[in-house]
Symmetry: C2
Subunit: 551 residues, 2 copies
Amino acid sequence: MADFAKLRVGLAQINPTVGALRDNANKILDYYKQAVAEGCDVVAFPELSITGYPPEDLVLKDGFVAENQGILAEIVKSIGETFAVIGFVDRATSSLEIYNAAAICQNGKVVGVYRKHLLPNYNVFDEQRYFTPGVHNPLFTIKGACVGVTICEDIWEANGPVSTQASLGAVLNLNINGSPFHAGKIGARREMLSSRARDGECVIAYVNQVGGQDELVFDGGSMILAADGTVVASAAQFVEELLVCDVVLPKSKSVAAPQQSRGQVAEPLSEDAQIFAALVLGTRDYVQKNGFKDVVIGLSGGIDSALVAAVATQALGSEHVHGVAMPSRYSSSGSISDAELLARNLGIDIQTIPIEPAFAAYLKSLEPSFVGRSADLTEENLQSRVRGTTLMALSNKFGWMVLTTGNKSEIAVGYFTMYGDSVGGYAVIKDLFKLKVYEICNFFNQQNGRDIIPQSTISKAPSAELRPDQRDDQSLPPYDVLDPILELYVERDKTAHEIIELGYDATVVKRIARLVDLNEYKRRQGAPGVRISTKAFGKDRRLPITNRYSG
Amino acid sequence: MADFAKLRVGLAQINPTVGALRDNANKILDYYKQAVAEGCDVVAFPELSITGYPPEDLVLKDGFVAENQGILAEIVKSIGETFAVIGFVDRATSSLEIYNAAAICQNGKVVGVYRKHLLPNYNVFDEQRYFTPGVHNPLFTIKGACVGVTICEDIWEANGPVSTQASLGAVLNLNINGSPFHAGKIGARREMLSSRARDGECVIAYVNQVGGQDELVFDGGSMILAADGTVVASAAQFVEELLVCDVVLPKSKSVAAPQQSRGQVAEPLSEDAQIFAALVLGTRDYVQKNGFKDVVIGLSGGIDSALVAAVATQALGSEHVHGVAMPSRYSSSGSISDAELLARNLGIDIQTIPIEPAFAAYLKSLEPSFVGRSADLTEENLQSRVRGTTLMALSNKFGWMVLTTGNKSEIAVGYFTMYGDSVGGYAVIKDLFKLKVYEICNFFNQQNGRDIIPQSTISKAPSAELRPDQRDDQSLPPYDVLDPILELYVERDKTAHEIIELGYDATVVKRIARLVDLNEYKRRQGAPGVRISTKAFGKDRRLPITNRYSG
């Protein structure tokens, strides 16, 4: 075995909190100790693990960057023989330029720093707003093996830094990430890592952050791939974990890569399970990292609020979720009984607060102003706003965060009331089209082996119940028509013209496109929520409000 | 004069609308005809004048980019002997890369294209999200003179493309801009342009867009500077204009620059006048470009709503501004009379809708839920939300946009009610600290030669009037203490620690910093409003909501 080095690699898939520098440092040290106890030769932490990812404009504060450097210096004092690779913000001593960097530490010292080369500046990412790209490829020797370090985006490019480092002799690449979840990503990620391992004939150790940060959920899913591209160890998604794996590495690039011993490989989750887990983790972390324990949800008896309540219960525990039924003069008796059945099934409390008295009071106060005008959308919105105000009053009085229940289809076309059903701190399912809401509800019931979300809730025709016998499909096309067009228009950046050319009905497409554009101002005042797609309403999609394009 | 070329240069300081490709094209052609009629040899239009600036994620739609190219091709057919320089999105034929570009057109043809080199990706700018940087420096001959073209940011760098083009022989640089206003910018801009002219020994013709686009106001202020750095012609700020100036240019760099004939030079505006004009233009364009004619404003009798009403009246005309007084059980009689006096002075209508009935109805409906709890902020917020809901009902019924009246000091520390006084489509003064609100109110009265905004409104102690004898300074430090700390913390990116080191009271600074951080979630759901500072709440400042940094 003289030609080979046997390395025990630890990947610390931790959940840091943005800005909590000291808490993050403590977490890093806890996991470092655990890695030492498990005999690791090296342990890698996620991208910018000291600051949490993404720190956004916090890094524009010189004082913040200095503090993150000070915290790194403190951590390093506790680093012994086991190497640690720690993500931090580096600052050049001679300039104001900052770098997204990894410190390679051993025996109380930073033995080297790698600065990220490729800075993503698309979708939700703004890294060119902050960082200067690195240009160097330092390599490190660990137990005689040549090791490279890269950061996130660096590994996505075929002829990027990972290939360069491999060509310079690296037989292992430690790639540290803050790589947010979207549906379908883990497969693409695994394939990409596999190609990169094969291309460079090197072992890839990929560690990713876990946890929710505003819109983003980081899914972990850290993994180690042999030089032949096979996954030899992987961590679970959506939970903190220290993944440990022994890898056997040639001490020289000219020696063929040996057969690796396999480590623990996590059972893969179905896509629906991943989406549900992302909703749960995103919600839990948003609520708890912002200092809340309890949430309140308006339960309409419909499917959207049912799913949000199910997610919240799984995220926070049933004793921390509070349901409110707010019947109007137009509510069906089924709405109330469905809401009550759901609450019973989930084990959450429910109270009923009728909206009629406040609604009637508004109508009376507005009577002189509205004289001669007939009822219209105004009165529907009023009822929705009484509900919103009622939820906010409970939030203020009891310190509960309001979870809002709009889905992506509604939010896209503006089929909601600003300051009404859209009120709240977090919009749990804002990135799920309505058809996906049904799918995830069915998944949830199946997984639990019973109809926690009542079948009557799933099977009834969607309605806002703001006027007699109202149904969504009186205002909108059926969701199986609406959702595919929205996906093309919103997520795939097609113009209305292009969608019509694909064979969709011109009148419907033009109407939907116009609704999406007109309602940008409403979305802009909406709460954040879990990003599930590759283009969520939020940092992913930055369209002007004032926008007369109609193509 | 054989060594010299005499060029008549037109700068078309137009107000395009983002996405209105055909309207923008028509406007470009109108101004082109006017320039031809005035005998111009060349006329330059602003940056991305076909799409309007900034088009944001619209340029991620391939169909949008193709349409903008088609529109350019159509415009070019009407271009005759007078050169036109037109901003558009260029796409490489062989790739998906797009460029922020200028087409130089004559006699029905695009004779050349310049692609912007320097792409701003800071503050409100995200150009690296979209565009590939250009690398070439094409030069053009107009009446025997060597002319360079650059775009916006290109001219801000001392050794950038303008210098390169000058060294290659350009004696005139046509610099086309979408350069947003902030207080103090025009002076900095003039100085920079003057340096650039002197450095390159070339004439600079700077043309800037005018108009409001969501948060941004473009102030125009186009100007021509001689090679010695003096301003020889300038357009007014905040209005559309075709600036025409004859410039005499050496046909070779080796000939000394001659004395230019002076053109029209606009009277400079005071900084307060610029700020007021920016508020007016930003509000007018937001309202009208989004298809509204009328606005509604809650008039409290306080200074914030008074200034917003004054701005709206100037922007839209008094017949399009509707005031609403919404007294509570805690309103002073002075509040109502001040609001009425203001409305009379501005010539706008005012109606009174008491909030007591709806407030009382909520309290009654919530009584069972609130049993055993004493009154707190909940009841104050409830009143504010009744006001917000009332304004939205009027908005829905009459199609009036609600203008919201919060100032930057309040918004910074979260001293407002979400879904209450913050409701509305546009937050006119959101980027003015409270002390600046006073200053602009006094400016407005002085400019009009009478107290249109009543002195009693200006001199009374600020109060939300949501509980008996409430005053802002019971909850917040006085504004002359608060505002300077906020400026350091919010606009200058200082940490609390650094501000304390500057000599400010530690307890106050820590409390304010914490309030600013804690209220990020409230601001995120706020309406857009005119950017006046170099760091407005909006695209300028991208801090995480989930953020435990307390440095």
